[in-house]
């Protein structure tokens, strides 16, 4: 309960800190907008079209492999705290689990999921 409370307080304080600073800034700063100033800066010249268009980001295969490995880490954290109670048997089990995972990783590499075109 206390953990939630502290975390909530940190989040609220962080939010209030940014909001209040932006409010102070709003009082202090000048405001003289004009259409040219409010144009997207990009790299100086007038931007051509929107940035929100479809293009191939190349990252989705990494995202799939990421999910697999992140779940692995989530499984292994409780194991790491408790495995001393179980002894060598638990270590052997973990090694089999990791070996299966690495086999999947090697397969993904062989299929070209980790290559950049």
């Amino acid at each position: 309960m206390n953990a939630y409370l502290t975390a909530a307080m940190f989040t609220i304080t962080g939010f209030a800190f940014i909001a209040s600073t932006l409010l102070i800034s709003r009082i202090l700063r000048p405001s003289a907008p004009n259409p040219d100033k409010l144009e997207t800066y990009e790299c100086g010249p007038l931007p051509v079209g929107d940035a929100w268009r479809q293009f191939n980001l190349h990252y989705y295969l990494f995202a799939l492999v990421f999910v697999v490995f992140d779940v692995e880490a989530a499984f292994l954290y409780p194991w790491a705290v408790a495995f001393k109670l179980e002894g060598p048997y638990a270590v052997a089990e973990m090694l089999i689990f990791v070996a299966l995972l690495l086999a999947g990783w090697a397969y993904a590499w062989k299929r070209g999921a980790l290559e950049w075109e």
């Binding site: 502290t6 003289a32 997207t40 800066y41 790299c43 940035a51 990252y59 790491a80 270590v91 990783w105």
Partner: protein, 382 residues
């Protein structure tokens, strides 16, 4: 007939000199602030605390107020130390490149960051009309709030920790991932092609390098059998992890450091903001205070990652003679300086090199280190 001299004599004033009286004034102001701070700090213990103590205890024991005081303290600390870190980084960069760095405001430019903060506070705020307004405004919040939240579990000493969470490391992993959400929101919301590429790169990079980082931290958890950061430090009473368990902990530390650099978007992994290819990456469109919060979050994360490395591998607050928080501070600043050293030494990687290095080398290497740690613990235990 005399010709005019080929080379004109150097002008006595270029306009770039600083007015000595102005510098003296700035310097005096800096000294006055410092003296006032020291005077206040030394007077604090002598104040009649006995009179107000019962009241303070009564107020402080209320859980909500207690948590609020902790949160406010950490927020103030984060802001103040970032001001110091930015000055340190600029001086360090100057030193590495044989120049002086900030010199004019305060002692050796010590107040430069404060002047910059005031300047940013008074800068006009620009939200491009074509941007996604909600995401654009939300992005600084989404980057800074998780960074602040991570400080909740960072132990400065046995007592100086906002909340001694038994699942500290898991909490850190869960919270730090959210920072990339803010980066992605900034990249997408700005409606700027370079920002979008920068945001996508940042997301891919932070997610990819989180795997080896999580597994390197998993090695420490395997070694210590606990996820609480204070417990991990207490277990290092008789020798820091990196010395007592050197064969497995040195590789784990190296992997942790490389991943830390990538998570912080620092060179050689500064692809998300690569100024020579992406203008300034995900925060190109930001100005004034909104930009300042990205910067603040970045440096706070810098301190946090260094502090985490110190906690996991270098015995946290442990050390002789000096008080515990000072030891923690010294070690953390040392690791931060190491980050700066690397930043100003190495060039940037290419995107394919960056992704390839993570997935083809760091991921299997971290898994091997983790398995070796498990075997090491079994051998040492029997």
């Amino acid at each position: 007939m005399s010709l005019p001299p080929l080379r004109r004599p150097a002008p006595t004033r270029t306009g770039f000199e600083c007015d000595p009286a102005f510098v003296a004034g700035q310097f005096a102001a800096g000294v006055a602030v410092l003296v006032a701070a020291i005077a206040v700090a030394s007077a604090l213990p002598r104040l009649p605390w006995g009179l107000v103590d019962p009241l303070l205890v009564l107020i402080g024991s209320h859980p909500v107020i207690n948590a609020l005081i902790k949160a406010l303290t950490v927020t103030v600390f984060v802001t103040v130390h970032v001001i110091f870190l930015i000055w340190l980084e600029r001086k360090f960069a100057g030193w590495m490149q044989a120049r002086l760095g900030p010199m004019h405001v305060g002692w050796k430019g010590a107040l430069q960051t404060i002047a910059d903060a005031v300047k940013l506070l008074m800068k006009e705020d620009i939200i491009p009309t074509r941007a996604d307004r909600i995401l654009f405004i939300a992005a600084p919040f989404l980057t800074f709030m998780p960074t602040l939240l991570t400080f909740m579990v960072l132990p400065f000493s046995e007592k100086w920790v906002a909340y001694d969470f038994p699942l500290g490391i898991l909490f850190v992993l869960a919270v730090t991932t959210n920072i990339s959400l803010g980066t992605l929101a900034a990249g997408w919301g700005a409606n700027n092609k370079y920002s979008l590429l920068g945001g996508a790169r940042a997301c891919a990079q932070v997610l990819s390098y989180e795997i080896p980082m999580a597994v390197a931290m998993l090695s420490v958890v395997t070694l210590e059998g606990t996820m609480s950061l204070t417990e991990i430090v207490k277990h290092q009473q008789h020798g820091w992890n990196i010395i007592a368990h050197a064969p497995v902990m040195i590789p784990a530390f190296l992997i942790f450091m490389v991943c830390g650099l990538a998570e912080l978007n620092r060179t050689p992994f500064d692809l998300p903001e690569a100024e020579s290819e992406l203008v300034s990456g995900f925060h190109t469109e930001y100005s004034g205070m909104r930009f300042a919060f990205f910067y603040l979050g970045e440096f706070a994360a810098n301190f946090f990652t260094a502090g985490l490395a110190v906690t996991l591998f270098f015995g946290g607050w442990l050390g002789p003679w000096l008080p515990a928080p000072i030891w923690f501070g010294i070690k953390t600043i040392a690791v931060v300086t190491l980050f700066m050293w690397i930043k100003w030494t190495v060039p940037r990687l290419r995107v394919d090199q960056m992704m390839g290095f993570c997935w083809k080398f760091l991921v299997p290497a971290s898994v091997v280190v983790f398995c070796a740690t498990a075997v090491w613990v079994m051998v040492a235990g029997s």
